[in-house]
Point group: C2
Chain length 244, copies 2
């Protein structure tokens, strides 16, 4: 069964800039089906192209419609994005919950679409009545206004994260392998000897404890071979004769 | 112990527009501490103010520094945002993982900061070396370039979601309470009687099965009292005499 990624449908968007920025956000997160209903500034537009920074070149061709119902025809499940709760009896999802729901529909072979209203007033109640579910992005209640393209970005990002494995937290080692215990111990042991030679341990009773603390600090740092060699170089430099 | 939300630090941002849009994104998700290092177009700027749509009015005063180390002084844990992996041996988090890590630091009373580089080239290796951890936002590898303010938005959004309870999927009932079984059953029973009167059940043997299907469909819809009354009205209208 073929799987369809969700389409983005902008209803009566005003500024070409926002259509372009929405397309860019879609491509950032692997979406490629964009439909427009009655774009105020027409289609295509130079401002959309400029703000898409190449997104239109890798997407499906944008389709333009003159009413919402026409644009929604092929989809099984339709999500309406709204900034405020409305008294409409439909399930309300956060963007993250919607991403999970969309992924489920996708595995069932269903086509999904997410509608966004224009910059000034969002979707009309008539448009929302055509949807299956509502998406409301939780924001700071004291400063809740999201730009159109930002809303597209946040939802596309959730969809991308839901359908891509999250990489584990990684610590790159670069070109150098992690150090073996042998090499690390050699460096720490040498450091201890040189510290002793330079009267670092003023109280001999404390020496074992202090060496333990130093060993803990250097072991926790999870050094590479290269970094351990750098430490060796630091020790050599510090104990060397100063240039006169 | 007081809890500090993370600070956002923009290093050598170029366009005032992006400083303003970053501030707006911060406020959308409840962050209020913004520091700038060497903003190319100076500070304050009209373009920043225009794009912040009021965000600066509800944030702490923006602080400006002339080098990165100076701007980082008060923070315990510093995250550097990078678009591509670098050969630097530091933990690499996704935005979501970083949000979890930041929340943990916050509960420990530690101050955190997230650094973002300028529009053209991002953070320098020297700036990244000052950080504790790296944040890399996973994107479509074929179209990965995120705008500065969009990166701030995505990370601020993850922080907000991590520290706010996700509301359950909700279906608002509006002003009308869910219908009781009694009223729903009354409506469905009446519908069955009228359908019978109007010869809907051509094959009497199938009547129980068909009524069961109709009942299932109407029960699943999870109707309110008001919607059930609307159905009653629909039945009345459909069985009434047509206007001649």
């Amino acid at each position: 069964m073929s799987q369809h990624k969700p389409a983005i449908i902008l209803i009566a968007p005003q500024m070409g800039e926002n259509i372009g920025a929405s397309a860019r956000a879609m491509c950032n997160f692997g979406l490629s089906e964009l439909r427009l209903v009655n774009p105020r500034d027409g289609w295509p537009s130079d401002s959309a192209t400029a703000n898409a920074v190449g997104a239109f070149d890798i997407m499906s061709a944008v389709e333009v419609f003159d009413n919402t119902a026409e644009a929604l025809k092929p989809y099984h499940t339709i999500y309406a994005t709204t900034a405020r709760a409305r008294d409409m009896r439909k399930p309300v999802f956060t963007a993250r919950q919607a991403a999970g729901d969309i992924a489920e529909k996708q595995t069932q072979g269903l086509r999904t679409a997410i509608m966004f209203g224009g910059e000034r007033a969002g979707l009309t109640n008539e448009d929302i009545a055509l949807s299956t579910n509502i998406i409301n992005i939780p924001t700071n209640p004291d400063f809740s206004s999201l730009n159109l393209a930002q809303s597209v970005l946040l939802i596309a990002n959730e969809i991308f994260q839901d359908t891509h494995d999250t990489p584990a937290v990684q610590t790159p080692t670069g070109d150098s392998a992690p150090v073996t215990h042998e090499e690390l111990d050699e460096m720490i042991t040498r450091l201890g000897i040189e510290l002793n030679n330079h009267n670092f341990f003023r109280n001999p009773d404390m020496k074992p404890t202090m060496m333990n603390n130093i060993r803990t600090m250097l072991t926790r740092a999870n050094l590479t071979e290269q970094e351990t060699r750098t430490y060796q170089g630091i020790i050599s430099a510090l104990i060397g004769n100063k240039i006169k």
